[in-house]
């Protein structure tokens, strides 16, 4: 193997060269991203000197960092992130489980899927936040109501993406299964479900964000802990940097969850990795 990092002068193999070109590209992308972020933060910091009205209105990166450190030290960061993370995960899991099962099973019956269609569209068009008061009346102010909110924001999306995947299966492949003597259930299990996995995972990645939104909206309405609670409380007290600090934690949480889903996808869809 030729070491891709060797300086110019020795001739690298074409494979190593292609690898190096790709690596250089990713490094360039990452470096530019870091630079853009750094530039924004510097501009922000410059525009909001300590004690100025601008610093009060918009916070400043240094103040946000200060709050992050403080929240990490007093443990509220981990507690709030943990609570919201748990609500999000449970809602994400339940919403996707129910939505995907329903979406895939709609493939079974054209009649039922037609009947259900307008109801799905109607439910999908309801802003989840509008349901929050009812959800809190029904499920209380604890964990369950946030999980319910999170589940509700996920379930329709999961249903629609998995159904789309299921009905998008190549008709010729279904015909092939039929000529091989497959029953409807065999077609479902051996063709429709695996063929839909790509769409299902696209839905999973999309719904990480939705699950988080649901949980945080739930916390906004009524809660005593969680990132939504922290944001709401800090906002009410006009502690803008603390709002941003909690937002940063929320973003990191979303990134971590998306990353985990991506890892699981690579485990479950190995045939795309080899290609």
């Amino acid at each position: 193997m030729v070491d891709a990092s060797k300086p110019a002068g020795c001739v690298p193999s074409p494979v190593a060269r292609a690898k190096w070109t790709r690596l250089r590209f990713s490094i360039a992308v990452l470096a530019t991203q870091v630079l853009v972020l750094a530039a924004l933060l510097v501009m922000w910091e410059r525009a909001t000197p300590k004690g100025s009205p601008a610093a009060f209105m918009f916070g400043s990166p240094s103040a946000i960092a200060g709050f992050l450190v403080q929240m990490a030290r007093d443990g509220s960061l981990w507690r709030d992130a943990g609570v919201t993370g748990m609500e999000t995960l449970l809602g994400f899991f339940m919403g996707n489980l129910v939505g995907t099962l329903l979406g895939l099973s709609l493939w079974y019956s054209r009649f039922v899927s037609r009947v259900v269609q307008p109801f799905v569209i109607a439910l999908g068009s309801i802003p989840i936040i509008a349901l929050a008061p009812i959800v809190i009346i029904w499920f209380g102010t604890g964990l369950v109501s946030k999980v319910a909110m999170s589940t509700l924001s996920v379930v329709i999306v999961a249903l629609v993406t998995s159904y789309k995947g299921a009905i998008g299966v190549d008709g010729d492949q279904i015909n092939l299964m039929k000529t091989l003597g497959a029953s409807k259930f065999q077609i479902f299990r051996k063709l429709v479900v695996p063929a839909s996995l790509t769409d299902i995972f696209a839905g999973l990645k999309l719904t990480v964000g939705f699950a988080l939104i649901g949980a945080i909206v739930g916390e906004f309405m009524s809660s005593s802990e969680g990132l939504g609670h922290a944001i709401f409380k800090a906002g009410s007290l006009y502690i803008i940097p603390k709002v941003f600090a909690a937002l940063v934690v929320t973003i990191v949480l979303a990134l971590v969850l998306t990353w985990i889903v991506g890892k699981i996808e690579r485990l479950l869809i190995p045939w795309r990795r080899q290609a």
């Binding site: 000529t179 045939w271 795309r272």
Partner: protein, 275 residues
């Protein structure tokens, strides 16, 4: 001298009740499509027979309804009129022991070459160990030794079509219905696969119906070539192809002087519009 059969639609030819031995008898089949409330006839009135161990090619002008014919034969579409009998019996749904292959390989990307080959055996409930042994042997026979564990995305077009062929042949079908299975391949690849396929089909004493628009392919492979008319289609003529006793080597057959004579005769009889 080239024997040319007269117009083909001889009612009752092989269609008598004692035609039970014939793998496939098609009598006066008609099929139309519903297009905006109007029925567009695709197959006008079509009769043909396929004898045991016989290879028949069907050629016709582009868009004459060859694919509709194939889908009707294998029970994916119901004929509007006429009878289709497999081994003397009319079948509801898919006929047994019929292999079906299209231009698209229809391999499942989430299955390895081996698992794709095993699909039909799996559906019929053949024990996994036996299914695997048979599939591996079939892949070996088709020159895919060492590729059993590859995913389709890593195989060339020709290899993928070989896997599709293995998937068809491993079920030990009496009759193969093929719809331009190698049309997307380059000429050399196509000749080699055809050669392997024909020798396997002839060795196994199977019957084969090959739909194609390639007259050379039709003549080199088949014992009989049926020419279809334009849409709505019917049988226009049939040619018995007599090119010596060794019909398994479709490559050297092409050097036979009679080969090009057959090709010219059939070409002249095909309703191809000359722009």
């Amino acid at each position: 001298m080239i024997a040319e059969a007269a117009t083909y639609a001889k009612p009752g030819e092989g269609g008598a009740v004692d035609g039970a031995a014939l793998p496939l008898v098609v009598e006066h089949v008609a099929k139309g499509y519903d297009f905006n409330g109007q029925v567009v006839p695709v197959i006008a009135d079509l009769s043909l027979t396929l004898r045991k161990g016989e290879i028949v090619s069907i050629v016709g002008p582009s868009g004459c309804g060859k694919t509709t014919l194939l889908n009707t034969l294998c029970g994916l579409l119901a004929p509007d009129a006429g009878r289709i009998r497999w081994h003397g019996r009319q079948v509801v749904g898919q006929p047994q022991n019929v292999g079906y292959m299209l231009q698209k390989d229809l391999l499942f990307p989430w299955r390895t070459a081996l698992a794709n080959t095993m699909l039909g055996l799996e559906i019929r409930g053949v024990p996994a160990a036996e299914a695997e042994d048979r599939s591996r042997a079939m892949l070996d026979q088709l020159g895919l030794h060492g590729f059993a564990d590859h995913y389709p995305a890593t195989l060339s077009g020709g290899m993928r079509q070989r896997v599709a062929l293995a998937r068809t042949l491993v079920n030990d079908p009496d009759v193969l219905l093929l719809d331009e299975p190698f049309a997307a391949l380059d000429f050399q690849t196509k000749l080699l696969i055809e050669n392997d396929m024909v020798s396997l089909v002839r060795k196994g004493g199977r019957s084969m119906l090959l739909i194609t628009h390639d007259i050379e392919e039709a003549v080199s492979i088949a014992d009989r070539v049926i020419v279809l008319t334009r849409r709505p289609t019917a049988v226009k003529a049939a040619y018995e192809i007599e090119l010596g006793s060794d019909r398994a080597d479709v490559i050297s057959l092409r050097e036979n002087p009679d080969f090009s004579r057959y090709v010219r005769r059939i070409w002249a009889n095909l309703d191809v519009a000359i722009q």
